[in-house]
Every structure is written in structure tokens, then in C-alpha cells.
């Protein structure tokens, strides 16, 4: 029994430190610096990634891009914009996919590829670690 309790505490400790390290990373939503979009609210960003937005405020059809499922950046992004866990997002998309209402965002391997795709496509919106931000991308200051 004592051993069990100990093991459980250790698991909890590991989970806690993992959660904290995820929260420490700072992921920001970005578009190309050539994009006409300068600012979007948190809920506008969430709507785009939930497939609920047909057009940008300027009329262009936005192309949201996700990082790989299970990546720290993706998990933090959805916690930040919608307070949703990876499982909650998967449940959300399962509902949409299996009722034929839509498809989830395209996926890229990592932040490097994400940045490349955002720079290439003016309609694209993605998220990267704040350390990777330079003059080629624009951070969407969430309101």
C-alpha cells in the first residue's frame, strides 16, 4: 500500500512538472509579415482553427495549419486560445469529420516547417514558439 501511494505521488509529480514545462513555452499565433492581417482576437483565432470561419476580415479564405498531433506547441496553442486539451480537440474534430461537416487543419511536422508554410502562403495562419519569431512573420497580438 505504501509503495503504491509512493508510486502514485511520483507519477503525479512527473505529470505536474511536465504540465509546468509546457506552460513555460510561449507559443504565438503568426501570419506572414506580408499578410494584410495585423491583429485578431483570441476568439477569432480559435474560430479559424475550429473551422468556423469562412473568410478573413479582409475577404480572403484563411488556411489554418496545425503542428503534429501530440506536440507541445500544439497542445499549448489550443489550451491558450480555447482552453481545450488534445483529447477535447480530437473529440471536437471527430464530431465534425464523422458528420461530414468538415476536415481538420492541414498538419506540418514542426515549427520550422510551420514557419515556412506561413511565409509561403499569405492566407496561412499558424503558431510557433516565440523564440522563432523574426521579420518574416507577424505575431497576431491577441486582444
Amino acid at each position: 500500500m505504501a509503495f503504491n501511494k509512493c508510486a502514485r505521488l511520483r507519477v503525479f509529480g512527473v505529470a505536474l512538472s511536465f504540465a509546468m514545462s509546457v506552460a513555460m513555452a510561449d507559443v504565438v499565433a503568426v501570419v506572414s509579415s506580408k499578410s494584410a492581417i495585423t491583429t485578431l482576437s483570441k476568439s477569432q483565432i480559435a474560430d479559424i482553427f475550429f473551422g468556423k470561419t469562412g473568410r478573413w476580415p479582409n475577404g480572403v479564405q484563411p488556411v489554418p495549419i496545425d503542428q503534429a498531433a501530440g506536440s507541445a506547441a500544439r497542445n499549448e496553442f489550443y489550451l491558450k486560445v480555447a482552453d481545450k486539451s488534445a483529447a477535447q480537440m480530437k473529440a471536437y474534430w471527430s464530431k465534425i469529420i464523422f458528420t461530414g461537416r468538415g476536415q481538420p487543419p492541414q498538419e506540418v511536422r514542426d515549427s520550422v516547417e510551420m514557419k515556412k508554410r506561413v511565409i509561403e502562403n499569405l492566407a496561412a495562419i499558424g503558431y510557433i514558439d516565440i523564440d522563432m519569431v523574426d521579420s518574416t512573420v507577424r505575431v497576431l497580438h491577441t486582444q
Binding site: D66, A69, A87, K90, Y92, F98, G100, Q106, R109
Partner: protein, 457 residues
């Protein structure tokens, strides 16, 4: 030419069986599949077979690291879902089922029933052009006749007119309630199954026809209008068909941040031919018999339904509730149901509580034919018909259920759920239970214990 056509058919059928085996779907009798009574269904099955074969012979472009979710890049996307569950009921003289389309379940037929919630589904979406897509979804689950032969749940062509407007032609699942169209995707829902009080209210769940959707943004508010028109036919576990024609459904969903409110109205002309045959018997008894048949016979009778639902899901909490009522001037009666449910996520665990109620708005008994005025040789048949009528009216479901459960997201794309339901049956009513056995006491209480693993692929 005929010979070629035949060979082609055989090829498609063989491939269909092969593709079903590959997808892990149990095929009980492939002849059953190919020679389904319904030509529409048969064509749909050919279509899904072709889509599956084409998908398999054209592997998704290899792009390591992107995985199956990167579906918009390739023409075809294949996905699947399923639930493996068992249910135990404290009432062993009747069966608990999750849907009115199932013939048996937990209690009398099985002490621990896998049939209530278990199913497996596979889906192919073909993005033919940026605007045009085709969707086919097949599900293997306990059918009305106790087989697990896969059936086509969805099969339609969708044309995206604008990013906000689309039209679908083919088979869709009716969204009478908030999660009606995704009720079989356990992973998408917080509970093991949607509350049966509300989700058993409408005896129609599908539409073969057209469906149009238009989304409107009003500042922070997103409004989605959906209209569906079609017809459907389904086999009843008790024998016979349910035929719905001139069936339309309109709904308006308003989303504001984490809040969703939805209102839906549905109408159809419904015929339940098993009950129709029984009630036609009254027509041999002159005017009083005609009056009873006209009142109760579910033959091309208009069924109307209105439902209102809401959900608030700001992150870790969820609160949801729905209310619905039916108007159906027949032996099936008219009912009103509602539920409230709430849950909270703590890391991988989401415990929830639900309360649901179902009541009848119409009479649950009828004096029937007046036997005193009948010649002696007709008294026996008339008494039999009266008993039959009152048997059906008396089985109109009245019940309330308190449920407690927990969802555990213990690994990626898989959850485990445990649920306890305590159901109080209305006085004299068997509730939603079926297969009532001698000794069954209506109006009692039933405890259910359910466990399920849900997955998505």
C-alpha cells in the same frame, strides 16, 4: 455485355468483402450485402466498395510526420471509430437497449450485453474538386434482426457553394438533437450514450434527400441554418417497416464563444406498417371501430417534433441540456423529454452527472370497442383487440434517470468510460425497456452499469 456486367459485379462484391475484412469489419454473409432488398442501399454499398478499393490502391502520398490528419492534401481520407462496451441491468425480466432500432440488450437476453453500445464504423471522404466531395460511412452494430451486417449510415455528395454555404445530396443522419448525428461516435461525446429519455423521442433518424447549410457571422456570433428534405425507410425490430415521407427538418444553431444554442423543427408523414396491420383489425367493427382505427392507426400520420438545446463549454467545465416534444396522433403517443448534464475535466478524467425525464402527453389506455352491443361471436375478437391496443398504449415510455459517470482519456485517441444509471419507471410504464417477460413489474426502478472503450482512427 451482360457477361462483362456480371463479372464486374462479382468483382466489386468480392472486393467489397475483402475490403471489409481488411477494415476489420465482420462480414456475416456477403450475399446478404450484395443482394440487399433495397436497390438504393445496394448501390450505396457498391459505391463504398469502390471508394475503399480506390483508396487502398492509391496510398496517401508518403509524407512522414504528417499522419492521417493531413487529409486535405490528398484526394481520399479514410477514418474510423468504434466502441467496445458492456452493459449490466438489475432488471432481468426486460431488456435495456440504447436505441429503438435494436431487438434486445442487457437484462433478460444478456446479463452483460455487448450489443447495447458496441459498434465499429469506417468512413471515406473523396475530395473530387475543391468544392465537390463525396462521403460514405458504414457502421457495423447490432441491427434490428440481431445481425451485425454493416449498413450505410451516411452517403452523400457535398457541394461547397461558398465557404459559408453547402448543399448535400444523398443520405444524411438527421440532427434532431444536439448530438443526434454524432451519437454513434462515442469518442466525440462525454457520456457512454446520449440520455435515452431525449434521444428515444423521435422514431426517425435518417434522411435520403437533400440538405442545405448556411453559416452567417454577426460580429462574435455565428449562426448556422440547416434545412433537410427527404424520405426514409427502416426495419423495426418488432417486424415491419417504418416509412417516413415528406420529411423535413430545419434548425438554427447560434454559437457565441463557448456557448451554443440550437432550435430544431421536424415533420414527416410516418407509417409503421406492423401497427397499421394490427389497428386495421378495428375497421371490421363498424363506426366505433373506424373511429378507433382513425385515432390510433400510424398510417401516413403527420409526426411533428420541436427541440431546443444548449451547451456551454468554456474549457474544463461543460453544461448541456435539451428539451423536446413530439406531436403524433397515433398509438405511439405524444411525449415530452428533457435532460440536464454537467461535467468537469481534471487532467485526463472527466466525471459527469446527468438527469433526464420522459413523460407521455397522451392517454396510456383506452376503453376500446364497447363489447356489450356486439353479437356474442364478436365479443372474443373485440376483447382481444382492446387488450392489444391497451398493451401498446400502456407501454408508452415514462421514466426518469439519474446518471453518474466518468470519462478517462487514458491514451491518445482512446477513452474509457464507466457509467451508472438509476432509472425510475413511471407508474404502470415499462419505460424504454423492451422484451418484457412474465413477472416483469412496470413502475419499478432499474440500475444499469456500463463500461465502454471508445476509439477514433
Amino acid at each position: 455485355m451482360q457477361g462483362r456486367g456480371l463479372r464486374h459485379d462479382q468483382h466489386v462484391e468480392a472486393c467489397y468483402a475483402a475490403s471489409q475484412r481488411l477494415c476489420g469489419v465482420q462480414v456475416t454473409n456477403s450475399a446478404d450485402l450484395a443482394h440487399s432488398a433495397n436497390p438504393f442501399e445496394r448501390e450505396l454499398r457498391r459505391l463504398i466498395a469502390l471508394l475503399l478499393i480506390t483508396t487502398m490502391s492509391h496510398p496517401v502520398e508518403a509524407d512522414p510526420g504528417t499522419g492521417p490528419e493531413n487529409s486535405s492534401a490528398s484526394m481520399f481520407s479514410f477514418s474510423g471509430f468504434g466502441t467496445v462496451g458492456v452493459v449490466h441491468s438489475s432488471e432481468d425480466r426486460a431488456d435495456f437497449t440504447s436505441s429503438i432500432f435494436k431487438p434486445n440488450g442487457a437484462g433478460y437476453t444478456h446479463s452483460w450485453s455487448p450489443a447495447v453500445d458496441s459498434l465499429v464504423g469506417g468512413q471515406v471522404i473523396a475530395n473530387l474538386t475543391p468544392q465537390l466531395s463525396a462521403m460514405v460511412q458504414a457502421i457495423s452494430e447490432q441491427n434490428y434482426n440481431n445481425t451485425y451486417t454493416p449498413h450505410i449510415e451516411w452517403a452523400n455528395l457535398k457541394y461547397q457553394l461558398t465557404p459559408e454555404a453547402s448543399i448535400r445530396v444523398g443520405r444524411t443522419v438527421l440532427a434532431s438533437f444536439l448530438v443526434s448525428d454524432s451519437r454513434k461516435v462515442g469518442y466525440a461525446n462525454p457520456w457512454i450514450r446520449p440520455p435515452v429519455e431525449v434521444y428515444s423521442l423521435v422514431p426517425i433518424d435518417s434522411s435520403d434527400g437533400v440538405d442545405a447549410s448556411y453559416r452567417l457571422h454577426l460580429g462574435q456570433l455565428i449562426q448556422t441554418f440547416v434545412g433537410t428534405y427527404g424520405a426514409t425507410s427502416s426495419n423495426q425490430p418488432t417486424g415491419g417497416n417504418a416509412e417516413a415521407t415528406h420529411q423535413w427538418n430545419i434548425s438554427d444553431t447560434v454559437e457565441y464563444g463557448a456557448a451554443t444554442v440550437r432550435i430544431a423543427y421536424q415533420r414527416a408523414d410516418l407509417t409503421l406498417d406492423g401497427l397499421h396491420t394490427f389497428l386495421s383489425g378495428f375497421r371490421q367493427f363498424g363506426l366505433q371501430g373506424e373511429a378507433i382505427a382513425d385515432r390510433y392507426d400510424p398510417y401516413r400520420k403527420p409526426l411533428a417534433f420541436i427541440g431546443i438545446g444548449g451547451m456551454y463549454n468554456p474549457g474544463d467545465w461543460f453544461f448541456t441540456g435539451e428539451w423536446g416534444t413530439t406531436k403524433f396522433h397515433s398509438v405511439l403517443g405524444e411525449s415530452t423529454a428533457w435532460y440536464l448534464s454537467a461535467g468537469h475535466r481534471w487532467a485526463q478524467f472527466t466525471p459527469y452527472l446527468t438527469y433526464g425525464e420522459l413523460k407521455a402527453n397522451s392517454n396510456t389506455s383506452d376503453p376500446g370497442l364497447s363489447v356489450s352491443t356486439l353479437p356474442p361471436f364478436l365479443v372474443g375478437p373485440a376483447t382481444g383487440l382492446n387488450a392489444g391496443l391497451n398493451g401498446i398504449l400502456g407501454s408508452i415510455a415514462i421514466q426518469s434517470t439519474t446518471s453518474a459517470g466518468v470519462r478517462w482519456d487514458f491514451m491518445k485517441n482512446v477513452d474509457l468510460k464507466l457509467q451508472y444509471d438509476h432509472t425510475r419507471l413511471g407508474a404502470g410504464s415499462p419505460g424504454t425497456l423492451i422484451n418484457l417477460q412474465p413477472g416483469f413489474q412496470p413502475g419499478g426502478t432499474v440500475n444499469l452499469f456500463s463500461a465502454a472503450i471508445d476509439f477514433v482512427l
